[in-house]
Amino acid sequence: MTDFAIELIGISKSFGAVKANRDVEMRIAKGSIHGVIGENGAGKSTLMSILYGYYQADSGQIRVNGKDARISNSQEAIRLGIGMVHQHFMLVDTFTVLENIILGAEGGFVLKKGLSSARDHLLKLNTEYGLDVDPDAVVGTLGVGLQQRVEILKALFRGAEVLILDEPTAVLTPQEADHLFRILRTLREQGKTVILITHKLREVIDITDAVTVMRAGTVVGNVRTSDVDREKLADLMVGRKVNLKVDKADREPGEVVLDVKNLGLVDHRGVKLLQDIGFSLRAGEIVGIAGVAGNGQSELMQVLAGMLEPTSGEVEYKGQSITHLKSREPKAKALRRLGIAHVPEDRSREGLVKAFPMFENAILGYQDDPRLMRGTMYNRRALIARTRTLIEQFDIRPGDPMLRAGLLSGGNQQKVVLAREIFANPDLLLVGQPTRGVDIGAIEFIHKRLVELRDAGKAILLVSVELEEIMSLSDRILVMACGQITGEVAGNAATTTELGLLMGGGNKQ
């Protein structure tokens, strides 16, 4: 019989009427890497928060190393040897690695003593697990991958035997992710237990020993990874057959719709956010922009959508210069009128007003549309009718136009934005992170709609940090790093390795 590091037995947790976890059973073998997958809202995070002591389960039992445990706060979890690496790092940017690591475990009033004993311990851990972190580096100067390793060190330093990682690869390049996986494997070899929360099927297949699949608060499968493949996991997660491949026929692109030359953007501190960006985009073509988040993709989208003014270069749309527009109205409005629609990367911050009902969000950006007016006032019936059309076309649920947008799930919020922008029948669609935080069923749907648009002769510029998405949708792929385009690859010829190298800033072509 195997030894279990963690056993969760019959865990249930409700928030008001919402049952976040229902009778969850999960056993995690000592010295294994255990994946927990599920769509958004499946209850993964709630379950892990219960294990880490942020929440108390309404009923059920937690056993750590075979012994019943009551974990009522994170200190107790740490004492039991459970460590957590959050998706958003909990580090003080201006402190060194060492200072961050002893934070909360300073060991007495005099800092110096704690620091020197901590340093020895830290260096030992560092070499033991191949973490390769300089204890005296200031955290703010470290890259994301390294900061994550600091978080891992922090957990290990506190004596973690079980390490929970929440979506750890969301912010990493493929190479950094590989490095992380090497570290996780080393941890396993040294007898540590790793719980990996993720929605990326590939990672689960690559690295885990066993998987727990969650759906709607319940466990729908506890399986050995070797017994399943990606398709089977996806089916389990969604509860029906899912088509992971995007069907896309080859298509001869048409006229140039967007032509960008030497585009540059310098912010008020003089930091070059965009440098010498040049590419063109044709009708009936999807061009994907790959890159680690924060390498200028967001700024590029905002410039093209008229939310930021470029500081140098030229942008032509259908042969007309739109670099700077001389008009009294805001540029974003003028560009929309020319047929440029924009699905922003951060839908909840930019694409929606969460406090507004769906029917008002359905006109955001198109609030001038005369078809919505009766005299000087809005015709509420026309607004509702339009919203119903969007709901129908994009299968938005629940389909209540009066519902506040903030109450919709991530996938349905995204559908509202996408539906609104596609309804405007644009010639150029700028799409940022179309499936971030969106469940698999909706991803399939959204991808299909984007390919349909392309086939209808629209030009689509797609920014995404999900390489799989970029590779399956794009006809051509541009890679951005540090505000520059570091390379272009044909969509059907791209490999993760090649893109990864370019994303790391690689050799410029």
Partner: protein, 369 residues
Amino acid sequence: MKFGQPSTLPRWAQLTLLPVLNLSAALLVTGLVTWLIGENPLECLHLLVVGALGYGEGIGYTLFYTTGFIFVGLAVATAAHAGLFNIGGEGQAYLGGLGVTLVVLSFDHVLPFWILMPLCLIGAMLFGAGWALIPAWLQAKRGSHIVVTTIMFNFIAYSLMLYLISHHLIEPGSQNPTTREFGHNAWMPAMSDMLAAIGLTIPPTPLNASFLVALLACVLFYLVVWHSRWGFELRTAGSNEHAARYAGIGVSTVIIVAMCVSGALSGLSAVNDLLGSTHRMNVGFTNGIGFVGIAVALMGRNHPVGILLSALLFGALTQGGLELSLDKPVITREMILLIEGLIILFCGALENLFEPFLASLFARFTQRK
């Protein structure tokens, strides 16, 4: 990823039960204070309610105060929908008074009522808006915080008005810092006279036609904020500035226009006082009305119906409080201010004090069903 959202109160409970509970709590604490200074709280409450609503004249005065509070409440709410906290209602109302006074002093000899009155309203709105324009511009274009600038502009308004009244607008030969009495053609028709014309008799009070203007303003406010494009842009800019920029809404324009509308509404409150009651402008006639407006908007949740009701509450408190302090010398004006302060505290600042408790009560109730 999101955790399950904790259940919240149903909307009707949020709009009715919660304010009632908050109000009761405020009254309870007031009662305690009253009892501590040796008065019978129930007797005082009775006197207050009767003084405000128990007889015709009291009701008239209550509605007169209500009128001014509606204007300033709407003013604060307009700015709030744009995400701005306009604390300058006081100064804007004061300057609105200047607009009214200048129009009246210049034209009440020559122009008839029907021309003069619209001019007075326009003067009040223009001057109120103008006084709000400067802080608005500074906020929109230079990022100077509107809270700081509007507070400063209240002080500037006090000094400016004191100077203007005592040096330029003062009635010649008068010892008091006040203007001459306005001509009768510049008097807002009293409600008692208007109703008498259609055969209804109510006791004469300062309640005047401004009350109708205030009600009209409530309706317009609702239509513009929730049914017009400008209202949509206003609320978008106020709820989510990023989304507003995304949607091609000129946020700085929205800020400036919203503040001007807010200032104009504050300015209108001066019409109620000057043309409806005093018929002249005294130093400090606004008497803190701009600050009451903040409480009114806060309690009324920036919605015209709520503002109407909370303006009524504060109107009744003002009137009932004055009556009470006549009957009970121990209950001074400061005591009434204390009550108002407690109401603001419980209904505004501590708005959600009882919310978790009520929510859990509701959750238990709905689960049992």
